[in-house]
Symmetry: C2
Subunit: 354 residues, 2 copies
């Protein structure tokens, strides 16, 4: 049996930061925020048959919330993907168990799992494929590889990876993982160099990940196995057993595995990546008109500059304004000063408390 | 038959400047923009039984567009006015003919007609009543009296009245009417003193107005009389004959009568008046919270200052913004920088041309 690079697409996010568009029943990855296709579809396309590369990609494994089963299957079918396995979690247990499920259902223990969040943007696909190709020789030797985004600003919203000596080609050993820093620490790391953003994208053999789990998270591995053994298959869908899965510790792959394992490497890559973690970052990556406005929907702008305007229906007219984020969705209207989109949570909390 | 002061309320405006709230089918005067009651209701209340004053006000005469008959009758009934005469124009012929119709249906030729636009704000009602009382002695002698608003800024949106010598008490002779000035001319007039804004509020005997029409606008008088003779009564409503009314010249009372007549006086008054001619002027006269925000509807403001927000339904959340006008009505959303509300027309034209 030939080994492949198997895309493992994680669709667990609940997406509160892009309120009022994203909501628990339709989180960010299931929305067409950046293009005509949804972020999940764009993610799946990066490794499908249309993605020109010499890499042999297998059928994808999706790990998602069971509530989203219909829409995920529908969105994948829309782009011609009907051979995926869709693992439907009864509830979220963070990334380490989600990836454990995927590693356990992979056809071949030697398959390289390419773990990707379903709600990120990657503009430079050849750069992504090149980074995958660079990592594969180490992956085949059992290394756990993470993709480190070359930082271009002192971001405080991401974790960082400190890179050490080269292991092979451009791939570096990981010295340590750094938690989301404050502004001073972020600026220091940018100035010092040798750091990359942790994008939550990983590449490793299925058996290498399972071996690491056995060593560092044996309870997690037992629970994941049990939930699959007692689970239920339904076409492309697989429903792990809820009772068994409930016993699974909840943890991120970073904490549970990457920070503990020995053979951990980082492939630095500059690929036009964004986690689209806020309306501000969506504005940053969006196509804009001559005045710096990024608009979607029925929008009229007069003497208006550097605004992001999204409407899911109602007509929006903007006159003489600058640097605003205007989002109209599901009957809600939100108007933010640009640069303040971290305050969306304040809005949703204030509305909840009324 | 005792003579009264008969309110003549003009409801002819089409209200495009307060789009998207005001629309031809529901213009400004029929909306509750400034209070729980509509501007028409607030206007009618200024001279109804609840308006404490020593003046003997008669039942009002409304002159309105026939399309608004139902809503006008309904709004008057809501505030207990069921004895009005509602003259329903088949189409607008400006103010001089509208007032001619009212003068012709007045019960008593000696009645003093208090002509008032239906869409203005007057905050200081005692000052208004005092000005009426000051004007009445001259009115009884056949003078045509206009109310001159004491200016507090070099407004270019109003006509001005230059006042001459005192005729009686505080009432001055009118030297001349000045068209809407440019900014320089407006500043000059404010500095020079002796000018007032022309608010379109008038007081004169019905017979005095009809005599002036006979002298200066005989065709208008003939057409108005004919349209009433051939018209149709229906309860409180009266429908002037359209064919006769069509023959009536279209002109404002200012041009047709006031600028030509001999005994024209002006009573200067400072009464918290606004024509609410724009979203900016509505913000200026509205009650505001500690941050200078005037909001109506389901609105949440966080770190937001000096904004006007009106929503007819959808929830609006504003974060970190200043000096915006946000209006949500009839499925349209308009976002303007404060101070730019003269550009509403640009919006409606741009939308029409799309």
């Amino acid at each position: 049996m030939t080994a492949s690079v198997v895309p493992v697409i994680l669709s667990g996010g609940s997406g509160t930061r892009l309120w009022p568009v994203s909501r628990p029943e339709r989180p960010k990855q299931l929305l067409a925020l950046t293009a005509a296709e949804t972020m999940l579809q764009l993610t799946a396309r990066r490794t499908d048959a249309t993605a020109a590369s010499y890499i042999s990609f297998g059928a994808p494994i999706l790990v998602a919330n069971a509530n989203h089963a219909d829409v995920i299957e529908e969105q994948l079918a829309e782009i011609g993907i009907t051979d995926s396995q869709i693992l439907l979690e009864p509830f979220g247990r963070n990334t380490a168990p989600a990836i454990a499920l995927a590693a356990l259902v992979a056809d071949n223990p030697a398959d390289a799992l390419l773990v990707m969040p379903s709600d990120h943007v990657i503009l430079d696909l050849p750069a992504f494929h090149a980074a995958i190709a660079q990592a594969l020789p180490l992956v085949s030797e059992g290394w756990l590889v993470t993709f480190g985004i070359t930082p271009d600003a002192p971001e405080t919203g991401y974790g960082y990876i400190q890179m050490g000596d080269a292991v092979q080609g451009t791939v570096k050993a990981v010295t340590r993982f750094v938690e989301k820093p404050d502004a001073v620490r972020a600026a220091d790391m940018l100035a010092e160099g040798g750091y990359a953003w942790n994008a939550g994208i990983f590449l490793f053999r299925a058996d290498a990940y399972l071996a690491a789990l056995e060593e560092f998270q044996p309870d997690m591995l037992v629970a994941a196995k049990a939930s699959l053994e007692k689970g239920r298959k339904d076409g492309q869908r697989f429903y792990p057993d809820a009772t068994s899965f409930e016993a699974c510790p909840s943890d991120s792959i970073d904490y549970a595995v990457m920070e503990k394992a020995a053979k951990v490497a980082c492939v630095p890559v500059d690929m036009g990546w964004s986690d689209v973690g806020s309306w501000d970052s969506l504005h940053a990556i969006s196509d804009k008109d001559d005045n710096g406005n990024a608009v979607r929907g029925d929008v009229l702008t007069l003497d208006t500059a550097r605004c992001l305007v999204h409407s899911d229906g109602p007509r929006v007219a903007m006159v003489g304004v600058e640097d605003l984020i205007v989002v109209v969705a599901h009957g809600d209207i939100m108007i933010l000063r640009r640069g303040q989109s971290q305050n969306v949570k304040k809005v949703t909390e204030a509305l909840k408390n009324r």
